[in-house]
Symmetry: C2
Subunit: 153 residues, 2 copies
Amino acid sequence: MNEACFYCARDERLQQLMIEVCRFPFSTLYLSRDQSYSGRCIIAFREHRTEWFHLTRMERAPFIEEVALAAQAINDVFAPDKINYAVYGDIVSHLHVHLVPKYIGGARWGEAFDNNVAHPSACLPAEYDSAIDRLKTRLEQLWQLSTSEASEE
Amino acid sequence: MNEACFYCARDERLQQLMIEVCRFPFSTLYLSRDQSYSGRCIIAFREHRTEWFHLTRMERAPFIEEVALAAQAINDVFAPDKINYAVYGDIVSHLHVHLVPKYIGGARWGEAFDNNVAHPSACLPAEYDSAIDRLKTRLEQLWQLSTSEASEE
């Protein structure tokens, strides 16, 4: 826990940027308030770590499973042509992955997505709610599938 | 294997952009010829897949271990202040992670790294060789440690 970190504090600094979708065992998934890339999300590791190699092997494996599950749900709900996954964190160092759906003909197709959008595309509250509901429904289905597959291994 | 993909073909298109450092069981690590970010590398999954969720659980876990190991070696050799990790792939879709060391006061600190550098910073052959040698030495040490830890679990 790092008091100065908004991913740890989960305070209004975080709430201005994103809305919680759900909590996984090792991470929390958020919908970005900026929807310049329809379905854009952020998934943050549950503790204050800064690099992938600061996690233990027993933390990395489930966290990347949760990243993949979230990306799959975004893919299934929003039908992008590719998903971009990025960990930056020079300033906000708490390990978090930007999950950015990209669309052929859409913003920055073929380039790195714009991380600090000059004019973020905000939605109406009902649009955020709808996106979150659809993501949660799909995540619950995928979570059931993934846990039943894991128990069969 | 996708003949049109340079990560599959490992041909001159790839060699113009990067130099092989080593092969892991699930991936290949390359040093980027662009060294605008000192120590910049790329790690590519061994097969032609495009999204994290297209891997099986038994592929994701070792691949993220290899990503973390490579990032740790870059960290130990080049001493950056943060590492950025990015999977884009809108056009070159074969799953590969850009490992980009960032330095306080250096290029694009606090912003997304520049993926398509207008004037890539090339090195002399001896400088590439030296970087690769140092990375390989550190990777061998870390690999030994990681496999001995795994066998103790």
